[in-house]
């Protein structure tokens, strides 16, 4: 055989099998593009400018890994159907005198073409989409976001390497399939039809357990600090569970239904149940993909949207006053002196102050054990989820600032919990025991406390003497690592944002010149940083959301279309056997509807179960408005459903046209 024979034959094969190959190629291109975008985004230098860039980067890397796993399973699976369909063709080649190694050669060329088309197409689409999405979304947000378009050589390299190996593995699998079958089997294979899938009870039960475990974690996790790790664990378990349930679980369920003769032998259920068994065999992985992607989209978009919308709330918690100084001085006198300097600066610059808040407080970290807070050195590692911040103020200060007139007896306290409520009637710390007289609904603002990821308990004690006592005890217990007393001074102004910023710079200079110890924050100055950060989050959420939706749409569309060609024949037979057109249509419609909306429904369940976990994670970023998140999720789900229904209608129309032609 001459040199050009195999390449030409391979090219011809791809052309002739266009109906099967085009959906496969498009799947390849979209998967490559998706992977590239994810990887390049995780390497975007703009990420480094975002606060919490490390977390973000590791999350993006995790995302890339998940997409890689998706891509691998999905392409392998899609390809195996392609090869099965073509077994008859291989059989004919074989009978006509091609040896298995010749067939392998043809397959090698075909795989090469597919890999070339998939990789170049995928990278081009990926880069183009990347660019377009950056433009569109930054236009929509209208704000300066810290991420920009970025063409990453490393990302291209990783993508090329990864997919080249995926395609190579797929090729090896094809060769294996050719090697292990004999030609007569292959010739028959085309007409043999799809074999009934086996019931894999073990996998189904495993899927159920995995999903259950994931749900359990999501529903029971308490502390925000541990939930970042548990979040990933839960995500992993739920993904595994979803895959197993879609593949093994669905078939096990359908077969159970089929065993129930009363249910099965009803006009409505008969054709649907048996049809679904085969449909699930072919589509399970695709559907699981769609389900997981949709869940990701929903969670990502709704959480980033609620962060964006709840930004003002968050800023209010984080910055209780327009300007805040947390003085960290050794003596009260020196901090008073620093505050006086600031007040003098206000006068000098004619900054109009509308409200002032000033109070001393003591704050340190401790491990909660029952109702007792232990100093850090007694706690073991691994008890990180029990670490909490304690903050003490005197009753006098509390009443003055909050405008209340609460009273306390000896040994009594008022308590406010920032995230997790404190559930004991008494509170022990450093050998002192207090009775909780009342839990408070609100507390004096303190931004530093809000910035800490750990839960905090804000304690109002009877008088300043009690705080001094605690300070001494704490000093004794912790030695050098003990906290100093702190002094809060915050004030609001009605000056413009620019004026505030100028003042902020001057105040900072003043502070630095006099070598005062402490932290100074300006709400106006921080707001722009917040917008940049949350805008970035929002951007990533919307960007990946839109991308995933596109991938979902394409996967569904081409799956349905390629299935239409298979269903056409069954449709005809059923009509010949005496099913009316209407009956056939409704049977097919119910199956298509199930295939379409099953992933969406399961995604809905996933998102609902994830609510408590996500709320806790958002609480880490000081978004405690659960109602806002639920509303965002609801709206996102609704919008997603509407888009999904539109895709369904479009697909269904094309599908019926194919089937009833």
């Amino acid at each position: 055989m001459n040199k050009g024979f195999f390449p030409k034959l391979a090219a011809g094969n791809i052309r002739r099998n266009g109906k099967a190959y085009i959906p496969y190629l498009i799947s390849c291109i979209m998967t490559v593009a998706l992977f590239y975008i994810m990887v390049s985004l995780s390497m975007n230098p703009g990420l480094a400018d975002m606060v919490g860039d490390n977390t973000l980067k590791s999350m993006m890397s995790l995302g890339s890994v998940i997409i890689a796993v998706f891509a691998f399973i999905f392409l392998f699976y899609t390809n195996s159907f392609l090869v099965k369909r073509r077994r008859k063709e291989f059989g004919v080649f074989h009978v006509l005198g091609m040896e298995k190694r010749h067939l392998s050669k043809v397959m090698a060329w075909e795989s090469l073409y597919v890999a070339l088309i998939g990789l170049t197409g995928g990278l081009l689409v990926g880069i183009a989409l990347d660019k377009v999405m950056f433009l569109v979304i930054s236009n929509i947000i209208g704000a300066e976001i810290s991420l920009g378009f970025f063409l990453s050589g490393t990302a291209v390299g990783i993508t090329l390497l990864f997919f080249a190996s995926v395609f190579f593995l797929i090729f090896l699998n094809c060769v294996r399939q050719i090697r292990t079958s004999n030609p007569i089997e292959m010739i028959r294979a085309g007409s043999a039809g799809e074999k009934e899938p086996k019931t894999k009870w073990l996998l189904a039960v495993l899927g159920l357990c995995s999903l259950g475990a994931g749900y359990y974690i999501a529903l029971t996790v308490k502390s925000p600090l541990t939930s970042i790790f548990l979040f990933f664990l839960a995500v992993l378990l739920v993904i595994i569970g979803t895959y197993l349930l879609f593949t093994a679980g669905s078939i096990a369920l359908l077969k159970l239904l089929r065993k129930n003769k009363r249910y099965y032998y009803k006009t409505r259920h008969f054709t649907s149940v048996s049809g679904m068994i085969y449909r699930m065999k072919q589509n399970a992985v695709g559907l699981a993909n769609i389900c997981v992607l949709s869940t990701a989209v929903l969670i990502m978009v709704s959480s980033t949207t609620s962060l964006m919308l709840g930004m003002e709330d968050t800023i209010r918690v984080r910055y209780p006053n327009d300007f805040v100084i947390y003085a960290d001085e050794q003596s009260e006198a020196r901090s008073e002196e620093s505050f006086a300097q600031i007040r003098a600066l206000q006068k000098e610059k004619h900054l109009h102050v509308t409200k002032e808040t000033q109070y001393p407080y003591l704050s340190f970290g401790a491990f909660l054990n029952g109702d007792t807070f232990e100093p850090p050195q007694y706690a073991s590692l691994g008890s990180i989820d029990r670490v909490q911040t304690l903050m003490f103020v005197s009753l006098e200060d509390y009443n003055r600032i909050m405008g209340t007139d609460k009273t306390l007896n000896e040994g009594e306290i008022l308590l406010y919990s920032s995230r997790q409520p404190f559930q004991h009637p008494t509170l022990n710390v450093l050998g002192r025991e207090y009775t909780v007289k009342e839990t408070l609904e609100g507390f004096i603002g303190n931004g530093l406390l809000a910035a800490v990821a750990a839960d905090s308990q804000c304690v109002v004690v009877r008088d300043q003497a009690e705080i001094d006592l605690l300070y001494g005890l704490q000093k004794k217990a912790l030695g050098d690592s003990a906290s100093e007393r702190q002094y809060y001074y915050g004030f609001d102004t009605d000056a413009g944002e620019e004026e505030q910023r100028v003042f902020y710079r001057e105040a900072l200079d003043l502070y630095a010149q006099n070598k005062y110890q402490g932290t100074m924050e300006s709400k106006a100055d921080s707001r722009s940083a917040f917008i940049g950060l949350y805008g970035g989050f929002f951007f990533i959420g919307v960007f990946l959301g839109a991308l995933f939706i596109m991938a979902t749409v394409l996967i569904i569309y081409f799956k349905q279309i390629s299935e239409g060609y298979d269903d056409k024949q069954r449709f005809e037979i059923m009509q010949k056997v005496g099913m009316s057109r209407q009956e056939v249509k409704s049977s097919i419609r119910s199956q298509v509807l199930t295939v379409f909306f099953l992933p969406l429904i399961v995604a809905g369940i996933h998102v609902t179960v994830a609510l408590p976990l996500i709320c806790r994670l958002l609480a880490l970023m000081n978004l405690t408005n659960t109602g806002l998140y639920i509303a965002c999720t609801g709206v996102c789900f609704l919008v997603f459903t509407v888009m999904y229904v539109l895709i369904y209608l479009l697909t269904a129309r094309t599908y019926y046209r194919i089937v009833s032609r």
Binding site: G193, K266, T267, F270, I573, K576, V577, G578, S580, R581
Partner: protein, 255 residues
């Protein structure tokens, strides 16, 4: 009693742009008695399949009408036509038309399930038929697991299970080897002996030689017919062959 009557059937196909007209049937009239076993023969393109489609209410004649049990098919409403076919007619096809997604039992049950029968009723009906057709052991198997002959027997069972007035068979032996053909023809004979009316379209002389009467169609018309009378299968076979030779050589109409 006359079960099926075709009166002056005419079918003209018009090509898509209204250009050429093709006359598939020009003037076909015949009747089938209750309990008869009739074979219709003819070369490819003689209009056999068109005739069968019209008898099966899958197609409408341009002129003329078909009466089944003295009811004209044209009076059956469009909405009822599927149910009508299901209740009155049984079909056996050349390529079996079994659904891959069902095992043989469920394939056979399909028309009954569509008619809304209970599972008990269906099993009761299946037992004797499966036994007669020798597929009792195969019922749980899937179409791709059994041979062509077995598939066709399952298809026959599917046609018979509704107790149809008339079984229409379109080249039922066309895809079978000779042994399976013999089996199937024996089954048709037995079913017919039990009183089932069968109308079979075929171009296999062997298949036709098992029928009680053979109609020949040529150029869209009933050209000739042979009654079995007291002839054995072999004698009928000979007569059919002779007639076909005559048809092929363009002999004049006689008898």
């Amino acid at each position: 009693m006359v079960l099926l009557e075709a009166k002056c059937l005419e079918k003209i196909y018009t090509t898509r742009f209204g250009g050429n007209q093709v006359r598939a049937l020009s003037n076909v009239s015949f009747s089938v008695e209750q309990g008869e076993y009739v074979a219709i023969m003819g070369e490819s393109g003689s209009g056999k399949t068109t005739l069968l489609n019209i008898l099966a209410a899958l197609d409408k004649p341009t002129a003329g009408e078909v009466l089944l049990d003295s009811r004209s098919l044209s009076t059956v409403k469009e909405r009822e036509i599927s149910a009508f076919r299901r209740d009155n007619l049984g079909f056996v096809f050349q390529d079996f038309n079994l659904l891959d997604t069902f095992n043989l039992k469920d394939n056979i049950f399909l028309p009954l399930v569509l008619a809304g029968k209970s599972y008990k009723e269906m099993s009761r009906r299946l037992q004797p038929i499966a036994k007669k057709l020798g597929i009792s052991e195969l019922l749980e198997k899937y179409p791709y697991e059994v041979s062509g002959g077995q598939k066709q027997r399952a298809a026959v069972a599917r046609a018979l299970i509704t107790n149809p007035k008339l079984v229409l068979a379109d080249e039922p032996t066309g895809a079978l080897d000779s042994r399976s053909t013999d089996d199937l023809l024996r089954i048709f004979h037995e079913v017919n002996q039990d009183g089932q009316t069968i109308l079979m379209v075929t171009h296999s002389v062997k298949a036709a030689s098992h029928a009680g009467r053979v109609l020949f169609i040529k150029d869209g018309e009933v050209f000739h017919q042979i009654y079995r009378g007291n002839n054995s299968n072999e004698q009928l076979y000979q007569k059919i062959s002779d007639t076909l030779t005559l048809l092929a050589t363009g002999g004049d109409r006689h008898e």
